[in-house]
Symmetry: C2
Subunit: 325 residues, 2 copies
C-alpha cells in the first residue's frame, strides 16, 4: 500500500479522462491556471459532504463521488451555468487504495460525462469528508438567480419530488420495504441524483429565478421568496410524485405529498417563469428531455401558502437543518 501522499495523488487523480482546452495548467503546481471565455461570468459553488452526517461510512465510494459531484453540478445547473472545472479536497482516515480507486472510478465517470476537468485540490489525513468546488460559465446577464421572481410568475419544478427522502428511509431501515424492486428504485434515486445541467442552461432567458432543491422544496423556495421579496401559493395536488413514492407510502397520497414538500437532496430545479415565457419554456425543455411541472404561482407576500382546491392548508412542515438537535 502506498504511504506517500504525493504518490497517492499522482497515481489516482492525475489520470483523469477529461482534458479541456481552457485548462492551461492542471494538477501538480501551486495553482491551476485557467481561461474564462470572454463575455461570460465565472460561476463558483462549494459543497462539503461529511461522513456520518451526509453519508454512511459504508457507502460505496463510487456512488459517494458521483453524488458529491452531482450535488455540486446541480448548483451550477440552478444558475444556468455550463460546468467546466472541479477542485476536490479529500480527507481520508488512511491511505486506502481500494477505496481511492473505486472513488476515482465514480468521480471520473461523472466528470467525463459532464466534461468537467479536475484542476486541483488537497488530500489530507483525518475523519472522512470531501469538499468540492465546481466552476462553470454563464453568459453575461443570463444567470438564473434567486432574486428575480415577481408576483404572477408561475412556479415549476423539474422531475418528481420526494423519492430521495423515501430512499433514505429505505437505507436507514426506518421503513420496512418488502418490494425489492421498489426499494432499489428509491435507493437509486437517493444515491444517484441527476443534476439538471442541460435544463438549467435551457432556462436562460426564460426563468425569472431558479435554485436547486437540496434542503426540501418548502425550505428552498423560501430562499427565492426572501430574496425576491414575494410570497407564493403552492397547490399540493400539483406536486409531481413518482408512482414508486406513492407505492412506498402504501397508496397514501397525503403522506407522499408531505415527503415531496420536505425531501432534501432532490437536486431537481425549482424555478419561476413569467406568464409570457410559458410557451417558450415548453419548447426549450422539450429539447433536454426533462419534464417540468407547474406547482403554483408567485404572489405578493413573504411566505409560501399551501393550498388544495383553492383552500389554504395549515400543515406544519420544516426543511433540513444540519445544526438542529
Amino acid at each position: 500500500m502506498a504511504s506517500n501522499e504525493f504518490d497517492l495523488i499522482a497515481r489516482y487523480f492525475a489520470r483523469q479522462p477529461v482534458q479541456r482546452r481552457d485548462v492551461t495548467l492542471a494538477i501538480g503546481d501551486d495553482c491551476a491556471l485557467l481561461e474564462v471565455p470572454a463575455g461570460s461570468h465565472l460561476a463558483v459553488s462549494t459543497d462539503s459532504l461529511v461522513c456520518g452526517n451526509h453519508f454512511l461510512p459504508e457507502m460505496d465510494p463510487a456512488l459517494l463521488a458521483k453524488k458529491a459531484l452531482a450535488a455540486n453540478l446541480s448548483d451550477l445547473a440552478a444558475m444556468g451555468a455550463t460546468p467546466a472545472w472541479v477542485s476536490l479536497a479529500l480527507t481520508l482516515p488512511e491511505a486506502d487504495e481500494a477505496w481511492l480507486a473505486r472513488f476515482c472510478e465514480g468521480f471520473f465517470e461523472m466528470a467525463d460525462y459532464y466534461q468537467v476537468q479536475l484542476i486541483g485540490g488537497d488530500t489530507t489525513k483525518g475523519p472522512l469528508s470531501l469538499t468540492l468546488t465546481v466552476q462553470g460559465f454563464v453568459p453575461h446577464g443570463q444567470a438564473l438567480t434567486r432574486h428575480g421572481a415577481s408576483s404572477g410568475d408561475w412556479i415549476y419544478v423539474t422531475g418528481c419530488l420526494g423519492d430521495s427522502a423515501a430512499g433514505l428511509s429505505v437505507l436507514l431501515d426506518q421503513a420496512e420495504q418488502n418490494d425489492p424492486v421498489l426499494a432499489e428504485y428509491l435507493l437509486n434515486r437517493h444515491y444517484q441524483p441527476q443534476p439538471r445541467v442541460l435544463a438549467g442552461q435551457a432556462l436562460r432567458g426564460i426563468a425569472s429565478s431558479a435554485l436547486d432543491i437540496s434542503d426540501g422544496l418548502i425550505a428552498d423556495l423560501g430562499h427565492i421568496l426572501t430574496r425576491s421579496q414575494v410570497g407564493a401559493v403552492i397547490d399540493v395536488d400539483n406536486l409531481p410524485l413518482s408512482p414508486e413514492l406513492v407505492a412506498f407510502c402504501g397508496g397514501d397520497r397525503e403522506a407522499a405529498i408531505r415527503m415531496a414538500l420536505t425531501s432534501g437532496e432532490e437536486y431537481e430545479l425549482c424555478f419561476t417563469v413569467p406568464a409570457h415565457n410559458r410557451g417558450t419554456l415548453d419548447v426549450a425543455l422539450s429539447h433536454t428531455g426533462v419534464k417540468a411541472t407547474c406547482i403554483g404561482q408567485i404572489r405578493p407576500g413573504s411566505s409560501a401558502v399551501l393550498e388544495r382546491n383553492g383552500q389554504q392548508l395549515d400543515w406544519q412542515l420544516r426543511g433540513y437543518d444540519h445544526f438542529s438537535g
Copy 2:
C-alpha cells in the same frame, strides 16, 4: 445560541468588509458570479486543514483562520498571482457562536488586508476542519510555474527558514524553552506565516520557476527539480537562519540548518532565477521589502545535493508526509 445553519452563515459570513467590483453576486445564491479580467489567467488553489493533524483543537480560531488563509494565499504568491476571491468550507462539531465570531475576526482581518472577498462556501456539522479555495489573476504568460528551471539558474528563498518547525516544537513542548521572548517569537512564526504575495508578483518575468515551502525546502525543491527535469546543489551554509532559530538550537548551527532544510509550513517562496535576471531581481524585490537569499544553483541531474565549501554532504533528510506512519 443560534441553531439554524442559515442564520449562522448569514450572521457571520455575510458581514465581510471587502466588496470587490469583479464580484457580481457573492454569498446567498447557488453560485457566486465573478468577472475575470481580460488577458489574465485565473489561478486556483485548494488547501484543507484538519483538526488534530494540521492544528490542535485549542488553537485560537482567529489564528487558525489567518493561518489557513495565509497558506492558501501563499500558493497564489508562488504562482505570481494577485489574490481576488476565497471560498470557505467549514465543518464544525457544533454551532459555537463564540468560536465562529473569533474565527471570522481573524479571517476577515486578513482577507481585508489582501483585498480578498469571501464569495461562498459551505457550513456543515462534523469533526472540525476547513477547506479554502482561493482564486487570483496572473497576466497571460507570466505565471511562475514549477517546470521552468534550467541548469545554471540560481536558487533563492525569501525570508528565513526553520522558524516554523521550531515554533511547533515549542508548542508541543518537545523542547524546553526557558526564554519566553524567544518562545513567543517562534510560536508567532509558526502560527502567523506571512504569505509572500507582493514578492510573488514582483518575480513575474524574473524567476524561471517558483513554489512555496509548505512541506520543507528539500521536499518542495524536489518538485521543481522533478517537473523541470534538473538537479540542484545547495550550499547549506547559505541558508538564511534567524538568530532566534540558532538560539533555540542552543547555538548549534548544524541543528538549525537541518531544521531549515526540512521545516514545513514556512510559506516562504523558493524560486530560480537565470543569471541575467539577478540584477533585476534585487531591484524588483527591494520594492516589496522582502529579503531573498541565494542558496544554490540548478545543475543537470535529478536531485538536490547538499554541499559545504564545495564538499558533498550525506545528510539523511525527509520532508513532511501526512500519510507516513
